[in-house]
Amino acid sequence: MFKKALLALPVAMAVGAAAQAGEWQDPNDVLQNLLQNNPDSKYLHQSEMNIMMMPDNPALWLVEEGEDLFYAERGPNNVSLEGCDFGKGPGELDGAYVELPRYFEDTGKVMDFEMRLVHCMKELQGFSSDDAAVAQRHGNGSDIMKLTTYIAHQSSGMAWNPPLDHPKEQAMRDAGEVLFFRRGGAMDFNCASCHGDSGKQIRASVLPEMRDGQEWTKAVSWPAHRAGHDNVRSQNHRIRGCVWQMRHAGIKPDTPVNTALISFWNDAARGEPAILPDLKR
């Protein structure tokens, strides 16, 4: 107890400063601060090799490719994505990623990042659902992952701060919390089956605890290069993998179950700096 309180004080100060400033930070610096502030977290410290690789995170290649794609005039309408509003105004990317999901007037609904990106690629650039640019969601070769990594990188080090001012934002976040604890599927699992305690392992994987903001900010910091997959993965890819392992039904992309879960995830990491992109096992 006493030890925890001692540790918590500098952590709270560091986080408070970062959240107030809202300044961009290199993802490796964000990670190093987290590690220093949480010397006892098995989750954060589980892979020495990944920590060492972080300055040369392969995901940084996608940042560059994504930047080119973002400003390129593309699609049937031959326009760039500079007209896309991720919530901070058209083309405004600084801090946009950590303030999602949010309610958008133009669609009348709460959208998560990937949903919004796809919306812009269809509505502004004119891509159809069948075009590879939109249809291919996963893997380093996909436009979606390149764009996601570039756009998310513009929020690195900033505190998760998904808005809850609109009643629909609050409703989706609250439904996401219910979904997180909803036991179901063939094996009765909920998200908390794996993320309700600190330091527990599924086989060799140390699991993050949702109620520990310092573990959870790393847990939800996607896009991340996933070493075991040798590909950069998204929040949506993590959900798909979890739901698959949990033996629930197969989840589809661009659907509101994803949005509600991400609304809750990002809210649970509120105030903690995001690592964008991260590197995971």
């Binding site: 699991l207 798909r240 033996r247 197969g250 589809k252």
Partner: protein, 230 residues
């Protein structure tokens, strides 16, 4: 395999919820006219799962479709809280689990611990979606190593559940122990209400056959099993 009564109960519960949420609308397009802010968080969660086309329409390995799998039965509903159940809930869950347990005809038998070791180590089975497990190609396993240490000499094993090293060495193979372990693997809520552990043979469905359970039990209890020689 597929137990209709549990699913039917779930669908009745959902039908009444649907009425409460009031999403039958004049123009037939559910989405546009649904006021998600008028629902409770629990109602909205059910609405998102069942009415927003969020899941693939696939056949589940245990029978039934995705709606059947995603519909909660009484134990799942009772255990969908953060943290541990309160006393009343725990008692109700234990009673539900006990009421539906059936001991195999002819009593509980130990099978072959070698087969049990393979099953305990197998995470195959019942996964659905982008990469669906085909039970015709390979039998589903028990996923036990994901959460329990059986034999730390073999591989790195999970710690979500208690370590089971030397489980049988300290307990023996009396009829009482055999019955107890069979009850836990079949439906652990009989002893540990709202445990994270799946029910492998309950009134909801049978994920492992009686024979598979007998092999896993042998891996756990047989004096010859490496689990009991550490």
């Amino acid at each position: 395999m597929f137990k209709k009564n549990a699913v039917a109960a779930g669908m009745v519960a959902f039908a009444s919820l649907s009425l409460a949420a009031g999403f039958a609308v004049a123009d037939g397009s559910k989405d546009a006219d649904v006021d998600i802010t008028a629902m409770s968080a629990e109602e909205l969660a059910e609405y998102l799962i069942f009415e927003t086309d969020s899941f693939r329409d696939q056949e589940m390995q245990e029978g039934g479709g995705w709606r059947d799998r995603m519909t909660q039965d009484d134990i799942q509903k009772a255990c969908s809280m953060e943290g541990s159940p309160d006393g009343e809930t725990a008692g109700r869950v234990v009673a539900l689990a006990r009421a539906s347990y059936e001991r195999p005809e002819g009593g509980v038998q130990l099978g072959d611990w070698r087969k049990g070791a393979v099953l305990a180590d197998s995470g195959f089975g019942y996964r659905q979606g982008h990469n669906t497990d085909d039970h015709g190609q390979r039998e589903p396993g028990g996923n036990c190593y994901n959460c329990h240490v059986f034999d730390s000499r073999v591989s790195v094993q999970g710690t979500v559940g208690p370590s089971l090293e030397n489980y049988g060495a300290t307990r023996g193979t009396s009829e009482a122990i055999l019955n107890y372990v069979h009850e836990i693997i079949s439906n652990p809520h009989q002893y540990f209400p709202c445990t994270e552990m799946p029910r492998f043979n309950s009134d909801r469905h049978q994920l492992l056959t009686d024979e598979q359970i007998s092999h896993i039990m042998a891996y756990l209890l047989d004096p010859e099993s490496p689990v009991n020689n550490q």
